[in-house]
Amino acid sequence: METLLEKYLTPDNITFMLQAAVVSVVIAALALTFGLCLGILGAAGRISKNKVAHGIATFYVETIRGTPMMLQILFFYLGVPSIVRSITGNPFNPSVYLIGVVALSINSGAYTTELIRSAIQAVDAGQWEASRTLGLGYRQMMRFIILPQAFKRIIPPLVSEFITLIKDSSLLSTIGVVELLQSAKTIGTYTYNYVPPLLMASVVYLALTLTISRFSSKLEERMALSD
């Protein structure tokens, strides 16, 4: 036991792993942010009466939710560069970190779209009616009445989306992004033993996800107070 600890919990390994954990969190946070932007656009399309906007948004959501995330990552890693090369004739080799953020953002955006759409539609119909009888136009109603109420409902599921993204960012290890899982695999390769580094990575993942979900339940309690 003493030797195991000495062998694996070295300052170098710990630094390496924590740096990789920061990469995981940053990628997840970026994907959540861009995903939220995509989700706002997507939800606007999904509730739009414009057939084209509705069609595009629906196609986006169904395609992304209906295919494996691993496939989407590989599509951006292997597919997109070769498509771009065949069109422009020049080699196109974006950083795997950029590819990772793009793939995860687009994936998260589809789920966030549905989350926002359902939160908007969950606002009581009476709120729409009251807004209308007071003469508020569609934009005013959205801005002052519907979105502020929908926003409250979006926060808790958005936090769990963040947790999902932290875990799913581990898939990026397959394309060479040095995130938390990849760091564990690297340490395992050097030491010929994967068990200790995988357990160490688990502890870090759990520390992250449990902290965030604790924060989330605190937030929910606070929001329940103002209801």
Partner: protein
């Protein structure tokens, strides 16, 4: 002020309002009564432009209320001639009482904040709730919520007030405070159309009572006549159950 011409509205196979015509003059107080499912609320919602009748026309103040009109601005102008009070209040839960009252005057009428707040406070005082200006709706009783909702409608200076069962969702001890506010409005000369189960109120305040069943307007008269001498057998049956 309000003119309904052969209005019909169906929900699927159900004819909720069947060929209803009605003229409401300034200062009139019309009570719509009838068994549940008789189409009273749907009729009122057609007047307010919350339902789109598939047949007939709704005219407000000499202008057609056409929900398919391309001119949304004109439609909004027509809408705000009418205040609407809902059975379930529909206050905005994320805003204080004062914000509930001032939102539309500021955003729709373009009033400045101070003027809108002053007007809101006058109306809150009128419904007896000036001390609740900073409360959120969830902290109010049902009767208080409905009085705030009435004040919110009045903030838009409507010419007509429409009430859709304003006391039906209230505990019995709170009905009176809401009816008092409505009586006071009636005394002040407001044109009102209301769907109600409060026969006492209809008898005391209404200038005309209309009885509906199965979407049809079966009988209308002054309250004194209608309650004392009902003609239609459906009305007789209805009155025997509610009075």
């Amino acid at each position: 002020m309000i003119s309904l011409k052969h209005v019909s509205k169906s929900f699927g196979p159900l004819k909720a309002v069947d060929d209803a015509s009605l003229e409401v003059k300034k200062g009139e107080i019309i009570c719509l009564i009838g068994p549940s499912g008789s189409g009273k609320s749907t009729l009122l919602r057609c007047i307010a432009g919350l339902e789109d009748p598939e047949e007939g026309e709704v005219w407000i103040d000499g202008e057609r209320l056409d929900l398919h009109s391309k001119d949304q601005k004109k439609l909004e102008k027509l809408r705000i001639k009418m205040g609407f009070v809902f059975q379930h209040f529909n206050l905005f839960p994320h805003m204080t009482v004062l914000e509930n009252l001032t939102l539309a005057p500021i955003q729709v009428l373009g009033m400045d904040k101070a003027a809108a707040e002053q007007r809101a406070m006058e109306l809150l005082a009128r419904v007896g709730l000036a001390d609740k200006r900073d409360a959120y709706p969830s902290k109010l009783s049902g009767g208080q919520k409905q009085r705030v909702a009435i004040a919110r409608s009045l903030c838009m200076d409507p010419e007509i007030m429409l009430f859709d069962e304003p006391t039906s969702a209230l505990d019995p001890e709170m009905v009176g405070e809401v009816l008092d506010v409505m009586k006071e409005l009636a005394k002040a000369g407001m044109t009102m159309v209301l769907v109600t189960h409060e026969m006492g109120f209809a008898r005391e305040v209404a200038t005309r009572v209309i009885f509906l069943a199965d979407g049809k307007m079966l009988e209308e008269n002054t309250p004194a006549e209608l309650f004392a001498n009902p003609q239609n057998p459906r009305l007789k049956d209805f009155l025997s159950k509610v009075l």
